[in-house]
């Protein structure tokens, strides 16, 4: 008979360990949120005093040391518009094909793999590719078009994935009813499925705006760094993020850097708030 061996190590009370672990997890999450809040508050506190109508609407003077950031706002909007105009039909089209037309199979698997890989490509590689392909090979030069096309390639996976998720959330019974009334697949997609999936799809597009506005590495070698107002899609331009990078890195003007950063952060806050609001309404609508 072997008697019960009393354990040598004093055993920790599992209840106390549990409490300690829960406290540690709350702390970790709290610290993460605090870091986020600190970043936003820091930029806004230093940058908000700069945000006057002149700053937003005036031409920059002496390389951005003085004056405003108007051309960079126009440049950012132009690049984002080009990117979305191209990436939205391709991304949503891909999602519709995968979810409504393809019946699984190799092609669909390969396309999904391609989208996953594209989502992982770092922005500097998009920059290299955009430079050699759009700027040099297709002779578009540094331009709104080159930058916008590069950004389109970059946000394609985001738009496609959110659109596919939204399509998948549409109950199969909706389609069955539509098919039962004799509608074709395309009629079902455009009149039944897409209207229901629209908010989710829009969320992906809105989030892509955020990525376009904040992107630097993919844009600096494709759209250029010219501080002039871009007058056509073939003009070179400088986005807000690139302007901010140049101001900060070359130490041209800290107040102007903070001001530009504040515009960037406010844009991102707006974009995320809108995306979340749409998503919440969408969830409430579908379920």
């Amino acid at each position: 008979m072997i008697p019960d061996q009393p354990s040598r190590r004093p055993r920790l009370n599992p209840e106390k360990v549990h409490v300690a672990a829960v406290v540690a997890l709350w702390t970790t999450a709290g610290v993460t949120l605090a870091v986020l809040a600190a970043i936003i508050v820091f930029i806004l506190v230093h940058g908000l005093p700069m945000l006057t109508p002149e700053f937003l609407l005036a031409q920059p003077e002496s390389m951005g040391r003085a004056g405003g950031i108007f051309p960079t706002i126009v440049g950012t909007l132009a690049l984002t518009a080009v990117a979305l105009a191209i990436a939205t039909p391709l991304g949503v089209g891909t999602a519709i094909y995968l979810n409504e037309y393809s019946r699984g199979g190799r092609a669909a698997a390969a396309i999904r793999f391609g989208v996953d890989c594209l989502a992982g490509v770092p922005s500097i590689i998009f920059g290299l590719f955009g430079f050699i392909f759009f700027v040099i090979y297709l002779k578009m030069g540094w331009s709104v078009l080159s930058g916008g096309l590069t950004l389109a390639v970059m946000v394609l996976p985001t738009i496609m994935r959110t659109a596919e998720e939204a399509l998948r959330a549409v109950p199969a019974s909706y389609r069955q009813v539509s098919f039962a009334t004799g509608a074709t697949t395309w009629q079902t997609v455009t009149r039944v499925v897409l209207p229901v999936a629209l908010p989710g799809t829009v969320t992906g597009i809105v989030l892509s705006i955020g990525r376009c506005v904040g992107e630097t590495a993919a844009v600096i070698f494709t759209a250029g760094t010219a501080l002039r107002l871009p007058l056509s899609i073939f003009s070179p331009t400088r986005t807000m993020a690139v302007h901010f990078y140049i101001l900060a890195r070359e130490g041209l003007s800290m107040p102007h850097a903070y001001g530009t950063a504040a515009v960037l952060v406010i844009t991102i806050l707006l974009v995320n708030t809108i995306a979340n609001a749409i998503m919440l309404r969408f969830r409430a609508g579908v379920t």
């Binding site: 999450a29 949120l33 986020l36 089209g93 996953d116 998009f126 974009v271």
Partner: protein
């Protein structure tokens, strides 16, 4: 009617091929531009050469490879534990109302542009590290901390998916046997979600290796083999972005070759992560 349906289906199929086509274009153009110099210099001396003087004909990127490895490992040491802890918090601990606030906040963290992170690094973190630990402040440590925060959202969202996929019966079983909630998390939920958690780290690693602008601003960019976390270093990404603006001829080719190395590495990580995700997917 039938013809229209057929045309629409084909058009959608072509749209769907766009991602694959673009991926192929990226690979082809970056490789065409980058591989000749690798072959000319010899793959060994390009990857393992310690001297980078592109205007004088020395193209060794070992310091940048080491720089990227140091910075990435450092970032994962921060983002790994913190990310998994946040994911556990969101899935297991947080009351619904708290989780509903934390989730969008973490999404916001992912949305902040990398130049803003880099800027915060310059004005807050770099001086702090210079004064606290000595050295130039522009260092691997600064870059690792900034990157750690930046890849956190990636790690959290994928770890969260992995934890949510653990069947609720496992948890109920452990609790019924008298485990505390923490014992259940540590001994049942985390081990079950292991594959997904590793995927989260692998994708986080891909993000960290590929990040450019934030790193350039805080890492110091000195071309030398780093031996200490307080040393400045240069990564593969910062090497490309710093010199691309004025590079020409063989120098530019060498930067594209740096891009090839980066691209291949990221694709290997992606393939690993996707294989894992898919295998896990096939179980259910």
């Amino acid at each position: 009617m039938r013809l229209r349906e057929f045309v629409i289906e084909k058009l959608l199929f072509i749209a769907a091929l766009s991602s694959l086509a673009v991926l192929a274009l990226i690979a082809v153009f970056v490789f065409i531009e980058g591989t000749p110099i690798m072959l000319r210099e010899g793959l060994g001396s390009f990857l393992l050469g310690a001297k980078w003087a592109p205007t004088k004909g020395s193209f060794g990127i070992l310091p940048m490879i080491m720089g990227s490895i140091w910075v990435t490992v450092g970032a994962l040491l921060i983002a790994g534990p913190v990310g998994v802890a946040c994911a556990v918090f969101l899935v297991e601990i947080a009351p619904r109302q708290v989780a509903d606030v934390v989730r969008p906040a973490i999404q916001l963290l992912a949305g902040i542009p990398s130049v803003v992170y880099g800027f915060i690094g310059i004005v807050v973190l770099v001086p702090f590290i210079r004064e606290t630990f000595g050295g130039p402040g522009l260092s691997i440590l600064s870059a690792a901390i900034i990157l750690g925060v930046m890849v956190l959202p990636t790690v959290i969202s994928i770890a969260q998916n992995a934890l949510e996929a653990v069947p609720v019966e496992y948890k109920q079983g452990a609790l019924a046997l008298g485990c505390t909630h923490w014992q259940t998390i540590l001994l049942v939920i985390l081990p079950t979600a292991r594959t997904g958690l590793i995927t989260a780290l692998v994708l986080g690693m891909g993000r960290a290796v590929g990040e450019t602008m934030a790193v350039i601003m805080v890492v110091g960019n000195a071309v030398k083999l780093p031996i200490n976390p307080l040393d400045p270093a240069r990564t593969l990404t910062s090497n490309i972005a710093l010199e691309m603006a004025y590079a020409a001829g063989a120098h530019r080719e060498a930067l594209f070759a740096t891009g090839v190395v980066l691209f291949v590495f990221i694709m290997i990580l992606n393939a690993l992560a996707n294989m894992r995700l898919r295998r896990r997917g096939s179980h259910r």
